[in-house]
Symmetry: C2
Subunit: 198 residues, 2 copies
């Protein structure tokens, strides 16, 4: 049975894929709006993990709406959640089991339990979050066991595969660099799996 | 690294043990107050799963307090949660990683996120709930794949290893059979794993 894992190549989505691979045929999916080659890092990591990899091309209109929301709010949480929801809905058209790397202590992009149930019912799918019962402390133990990771500041020249990178790019193009500094936290980091230990 | 899994021999705790066994050395733990041989079913299933098994003997005073709470409330949820918390605290004295089979859609015995964090901080442990991101529908797919199960009405001659059985027993002894019928749902069932497929 196929399970589609929303995938950035970061430690959480890699661990999610590893956990699910005992039970399902895992395929990895990275969202791109085509503004950046943001899927490249994810594809490299997918090769190391040896799982099939797909790029999900979403309509740029979704990114624009997320950007408008983000600029209006002054912080990116709701914009990122909007992209995540649209990604889930698109994946649900072709997969019965959909998964992501959301952890117990995550704030973004987290659907409420009623949003999760409503999504599952509307699309007749299983939405699985294998890390929802794990703290970051426990996840770090498991990541250390299986993966070698790098950490990158999100405000740097690094282009990762998370939604945030294209969201920043479109806001930069429309509102300039200063807006990015206002909206996005400066100290936020993204992990990237660079090797698999076992 | 050892992980202690609170274990009843039901489908949820069996699946939890299976999931964690990829990452940790699993040991199974069943709580007993010594009123019934309630641990017997769990021990049988533990043998089938081939994991080490321990009985955790808790003070009967805890069971009495849970019974008082249950009779006062007129429903068992808080009494069962109380036993669960006391079990977690006792296990935390000897284990760094503690786990149970609580699912995304469970109501009992569920600790709130602040109770979970407080428990982890106070005892310096990892509390892991591998099924917290899985719905009952998804769990049923996995259970079907790995286990053969039986379902037993909780109001029957069946004595399972869940907290409920000794809680019912002590209330029956102190308040009589009628009280049990008032307090405990008649249609509630407990699953028991009777064979392992893979």
């Amino acid at each position: 049975m196929k399970a589609s894992v929303l995938f950035s190549g970061g430690k959480d989505s890699c661990l999610t894929a590893k956990m699910l691979s005992d039970f399902f045929d895992v395929e990895l999916i990275t969202t791109s709006f085509g503004l950046l080659s943001n899927w490249e890092k994810a594809e490299e990591v997918a090769k190391k993990l040896n799982f099939p990899f797909k790029i999900l091309k979403l309509d740029e209109e979704i990114l624009k709406q997320a950007a408008d929301q983000t600029v209006k709010d002054g912080f990116p949480n709701n914009g990122i959640k909007y992209i995540h929801q649209k990604t889930l809905e698109e994946v649900a058209k072709n997969s019965k089991i959909i998964s992501d790397g959301v952890r117990r202590d995550d704030k973004v992009p987290v659907l409420s339990i009623s949003e999760i149930r409503s999504f599952e019912d509307k699309f007749d799918v299983h939405y699985v979050q294998p890390l929802a019962g794990y703290s970051w402390k426990t996840i770090n133990i498991l990541v250390e066991k299986f993966f070698v990771i790098e950490e990158h500041k999100s405000i740097s020249s690094f282009v990762g595969s998370e939604y945030e990178f294209e969201l920043r790019e479109i806001i930069k193009r429309e509102y300039g660099d200063e807006k990015i500094k206002e909206i996005f936290p400066q100290n936020h980091t993204h992990s990237l799996v660079v090797d698999v230990k076992i």
